[in-house]
């Protein structure tokens, strides 16, 4: 079982966390025209990289979202930062 560092609560077992999204995904402005392919890419396409990945996770017990940087091969955790801008 992996140990993830919540920026607010410290290291906790992975069972307390939930994956939210890959970091850097921005919702398209749906008041504008969006092609089917672009929308499908937003909904379904994941980079799913080998190696260093940046992901948004939620620590379920404090409900805070944060960015988790980890290695998808070695499972090493490389760092975590709060998502909110003023808490970098």
């Amino acid at each position: 079982m992996q140990v993830f560092p919540c920026p607010f609560c410290g290291p906790r077992n992975e069972t307390e966390f939930h994956f939210a999204a890959e970091a850097g995904k921005v919702r398209p402005d749906t008041t504008q025209q969006i092609g089917d392919a672009d929308w499908a890419t937003y909904l379904h396409a994941q980079r799913n990289e080998k190696g260093t990945v940046r992901e948004v996770w939620m620590h379920m017990t404090c409900a805070e979202l944060f960015i988790l940087e980890r290695d998808s091969v070695t499972m090493d955790v490389l760092g975590s930062t709060a998502l909110r801008k003023d808490a970098t």
Binding site: M1, Q2, V3, E14, H18, A20, A21, R27, P28, D29, T30, T31, I34, D36, W39, L43, V56, M58, M60, A63, E64, L65, T74, M75, V77, L83, R84, D86
Partner: protein, 930 residues
């Protein structure tokens, strides 16, 4: 073979006799014996039968590598199957039974199967039972396969402790190297755990006369004391069975037969692997005969338990480590005859080995001890992601490039000499890295010889022979992973601890490739079999999923509320304790006729506040919310970004920047995290605040034609008339000096008031409303009867009347999709080709013919006489008010098929039904708005 116990020697307590039975016959052993050592000491030669051919099997070795001695053990009223005899301590009164043998191991009726071995080779089942259909044969084969049967008794008190722990340094293995490593680390002030699989420390020390000039037993005791003095923690009978992500180590601590094992999830800062090495078998004809044993295992039986397999024994070894083992047996008075292993040798004997024929000469003996070289136990290294390097000198895989914070020492590292192993232990204990020293260990490579005569066993338990490996190679199952699965090599309870090296070496020889190129199969946890119970522990029932409780639980109990779990809440399904259906029907009817009281406290209440709250709720709801005025409520659907209906509920605007979202009871947690995710990712979290106040408020619903009369009994300081408090509005006031919120919102279709008070005021509210309900001829309403009322009205339950494809327009909510201009979750997904396609499943009601029976929930809707599904029934009830069954369904293009005659098909029965509108109660809404 006639095993015997010596007068002295070993670590057993000869003063404490233990009696036991094996296959019904009485024997005795000593405290400290394992089942295997006790059987051996009593001269029991056949301890079980092999998996496939039912060949007789004897004890092969003294530890985790023994594949043969597997028992069903009964002690008192408890019986456990597949107990490893070599690693389980004997207890007084144990009844042992050999597995896979009937009536007993000595006379097994299926032993005749061995005569057919020519036809039962690798792939036999795959090739033979393929025609006409595997399923015809499966039950019979399943009955024949497998080892010990599971006893049908349930042991409620057999519950494993689950412990989480951490330490600086974990040392796995309490042999000389591990002891020194643990002592050194502990004396440096590290928090050290030392785990040892056996009941006593020392490992191979028992086979050595002196260590560091001290008697071995005294030396081990000195290390143990030093570790304890330095606050190190020593766990005996504890196996590190696996290393998982982020260096979590699984430990299994045995605590005797009566008590379930204890499981630790240990986080270690660093891990020192001192797991030792195992002796390999030699592959030759009839090498599976009982009485042919591991040389190191035999020496270990002597050193630990004072047991010799026999007096007169043949030794065949190819390596330098054999000398030490032979010395132990020599000293014990064994008559050892040494022969060099040869390619043509073959064991002989009827019910066990009587000797070995070597180069044409028959050499007789009561037991044959073989040693094919040492194999370091590198399982944990591989679990943790370490690499292995092939060592030509040792003819073994050794720990190579290692995982972070993990070191291998001693025999596990290929360092078989005790002084060098101790030096590695000292270095590792200090946290220093070190080079593997050169070795004095030598051996003559001795691997299986493909093409040789006779039946040569590679996997003793699963009956995989050298011929089977050759068949697999011939049929192109040459990858070791394919070889394993095709032949079942290495899949026995010992997971190939004896078989794997011989199997892959045989494959290497057949293909003419070097062993390291063929490689090993994947090492996966657990290292030893772990009872399922060890993973289960207390994780069951309430502790697995605690129910949420209503503030009025006591009141419901007084009224005989049938408390059941609904969506994670303990709620009254109905009131009364005999015929449930009778109560449910009566409650539903009374609610329609007069008035009823329903506890709606579990309904989600999530506050959304802040300057951006209006825009936020407008975004997360399908329906337009920003036009809602304070004091008003609106029904809304929440969608996923894929446009699928996620939840429904009523949203109330308490103030300009204050909304209260009421979601389904069972969805509250998921809606809260859904809202949190959008609040924090994509919005300014300092301008929106989300607070789940579900548990802070209690809500009682008064519903029915006389609801207003009942609410009047509260004497609230406000006008509750239809004009002042119309449908979908609410007011806040004070009652008993506490806040009270009264809302005109209905899930029954009748005139309803939802009255919410702080949770602690709930009993006071109940105390007024409950008697008043009775005074007005009404009653209590459980959630089962409520489900009938809402279905009569065509109100849906998300997840019951919808599925993973349902979009809002499938439910008839088409306006926002067409008109809402602001962005909202899932908006773009409602305009894809799939969303616009004809043939979507849409919500409908179903009518049965006069006097027709209830339609089973889940029945498929089909065209008359046809069989392709057009949808299915999602809710179905007997309606006491309407006097006939009702149902909801989702049906292809259902919205424009009202009036069409179709059939509900279930369990090969067809019921004629007619599609209709979902709402069959008060379609004009007169009662709702009363």
């Amino acid at each position: 073979m006639s095993g015997l116990r010596l007068e002295s020697g070993g670590q057993i307590d000869r003063k404490r006799w233990l009696s036991f039975t094996f296959d019904g016959k009485a024997y005795s052993g000593f405290a400290g014996d394992t089942l295997a050592s006790a059987l051996l000491a009593n001269g029991v030669r056949i301890v079980g039968r092999s998996f496939k051919y039912h060949r007789p099997r004897g004890v092969w070795s003294s530890w985790v590598d023994d594949p043969n001695a597997i028992m069903t053990v009964r002690l008192g009223d408890r019986e456990l199957p597949n107990v490893s005899a070599a690693t389980t301590l004997l207890e007084d009164g144990m009844e042992l039974r050999a597995v896979n043998a009937w009536p007993n191991a000595r006379y097994d009726v299926k032993g005749g199967l061995d005569l057919f071995h020519r036809f039962l080779g690798a792939g036999f089942y795959y090739k033979t039972f393929i025609w006409p259909d595997w399923h015809l044969f499966e039950p019979a084969i399943r009955k024949m396969a497998g080892l010990g049967p599971v006893n049908a008794d349930v042991y409620d008190d057999y519950v494993s402790d689950q412990l989480n722990a951490s330490c600086d340094t974990l040392v796995v293995g309490g042999g000389p190297a591990g002891l020194v490593a643990a002592r050194t680390a502990a004396e440096r002030g590290e928090a050290v755990w030392l785990v040892e699989d056996h009941a006593s420390l020392g490992g191979s020390a028992a086979m050595l006369g002196h260590i560091d000039g001290t008697d071995h037993a005294a030396w081990v005791q000195a290390q143990e004391q030093a570790i304890e003095v330095a606050d190190g923690r020593i766990l005996k009978q504890t196996t590190a069975y696996g290393i998982y992500d982020h260096a979590m180590v699984g430990l299994l601590e045995k605590r005797g037969f009566a008590q379930p094992p204890r499981r630790y999830r240990l986080r270690a800062g660093r891990i020192i692997m001192a797991t030792g090495a195992l002796d390999r078998p030699i592959t030759f004809g009839n090498n599976d005969l009982p009485g042919i044993m591991s040389l190191q295992g035999a020496a270990d039986f002597m050193a630990r338990y004072g047991v010799l397999p026999a007096r007169k024994m043949i030794v065949m070894a190819n390596n330098a480590a054999a000398d030490q083992a032979c010395a132990v047996l020599d000293q014990a008075g064994a008559d050892l005859r040494h022969f060099a292993p040869s390619k043509t040798m073959s064991g002989f004997g009827s019910r066990g080995v009587e000797g070995v024929s070597i180069d044409g000469y028959k050499r007789t003996a009561n037991a044959v001890l073989v040693s094919g070289g040492l194999t370091p136990l590198v399982h944990l290294w591989r679990h943790a992601g370490g690499k292995l390097d092939w060592c030509e000198t040792r003819q073994a895989f050794l720990p190579g490039y290692g995982p972070k914070n993990m070191q291998a020492i001693g025999a596990a590292n290929g360092t078989f000499e005790v002084d060098k192993a101790i030096a590695e232990g000292t270095a590792a204990g200090k946290g220093l890295s070190f080079e593997r020293p050169s070795t004095s260990y030598t051996l003559t490579p001795l691997w299986p010889q493909p093409g040789s005569k006779g039946r040569q066993w590679i996997d003793f338990q699963h009956d995989v022979t050298l011929k089977d490996v050759e068949v697999a190679a011939r049929e192109n199952y040459v990858s070791v992973e394919h070889l394993k699965r095709y032949t079942t090599l290495g899949m026995a309870a010992d997971q190939g601890k004896t078989a794997n090296m011989a199997g892959l070496a045989a494959m290497a020889t057949i293909q003419g490739r070097p062993i390291p190129e063929v490689g090993t199969t994947t090492f996966r946890p657990p290292f030893v079999p772990v009872p399922i119970e060890a993973f289960h522990g207390h994780h069951g029932k309430q502790l697995w999923h605690p129910v949420k409780r209503l503030p009025l639980e006591a009141e419901h109990r007084v009224m005989n509320g049938a408390l059941r779990e609904y969506g994670g809440w303990l709620r009254p399904g109905w009131y009364g304790n005999d015929d449930a259906e009778l109560h449910i029907q009566a409650e539903a009817l009374l609610a329609r006729q007069t008035v009823a009281l329903f506890d709606g406290s579990s309904l989600g209440k999530i506050a959304v506040m802040g300057p951006d709250a209006e825009a936020f709720v407008n975004f997360v709801y399908y329906n337009t919310i920003k036009t809602l005025k304070p004091g008003e409520m609106r029904y809304g659907l929440m969608l996923t970004e894929r446009g699928i209906v996620k939840d429904d509920g009523v949203i109330a605007r308490l103030g300009p920047d204050h909304f209260l979202i009421s979601c389904s009871s069972s969805h509250t947690d998921s809606v809260r995290t859904h809202l949190e995710a959008w609040r924090q990712d994509g919005n300014d979290p300092d301008r929106i605040f989300i607070h789940d106040e579900t548990q802070s408020w209690a809500t009682l619903t008064v519903t029915g034609p006389r609801a207003r009369d009942v609410v009047a009994s509260l004497g609230l300081p406000l006008d509750i008339g239809a004009a002042a408090l119309p449908h979908m509005t609410f007011q806040e006031t004070q009652w008993n000096d506490h806040p009270l919120r009264i809302a005109r919102v209905s899930f029954t279709g009748d005139l309803s008031f939802e009255i919410s008070v702080p949770a602690r005021q709930a009993p006071a509210l109940w105390a007024v409303l409950h008697p008043s309900i009775k005074d007005h001829g009404g009653g209590l309403l459980g959630i089962e009867a409520l489900s009938i009322l809402r279905a009569e009205k065509g109100y849906i339950m998300i997840g019951k009347d919808t599925d993973g494809e349902t979009m809002p327009h499938d439910l008839g909510f088409t306006v926002p999709r067409a008109k809402k201009t602001a962005a909202y979750l899932g908006d773009r997904s409602l305009h894809t080709a799939v969303a616009n396609a004809p043939g979507r499943k849409q919500l409908v009601g179903l009518k049965v013919a006069d006097g027709g029976a209830m339609i089973p929930t889940g029945a498929h809707i089909v065209l008359p006489g046809k069989s392709s599904s057009q949808g299915y029934v999602t809710s179905s009830y007997d309606s006491p008010y309407l006097g006939h069954p009702i149902a909801l369904a989702i049906v292809t293009d259902g919205a424009r098929r009202h009036g069409e005659a179709v059939e509900a098909w279930h369990d090969n029965r067809r019921l004629p039904v007619t599609i209709c509108a979902p709402c069959v109660f008060d379609p004009t809404g007169e009662k709702l708005h009363a």
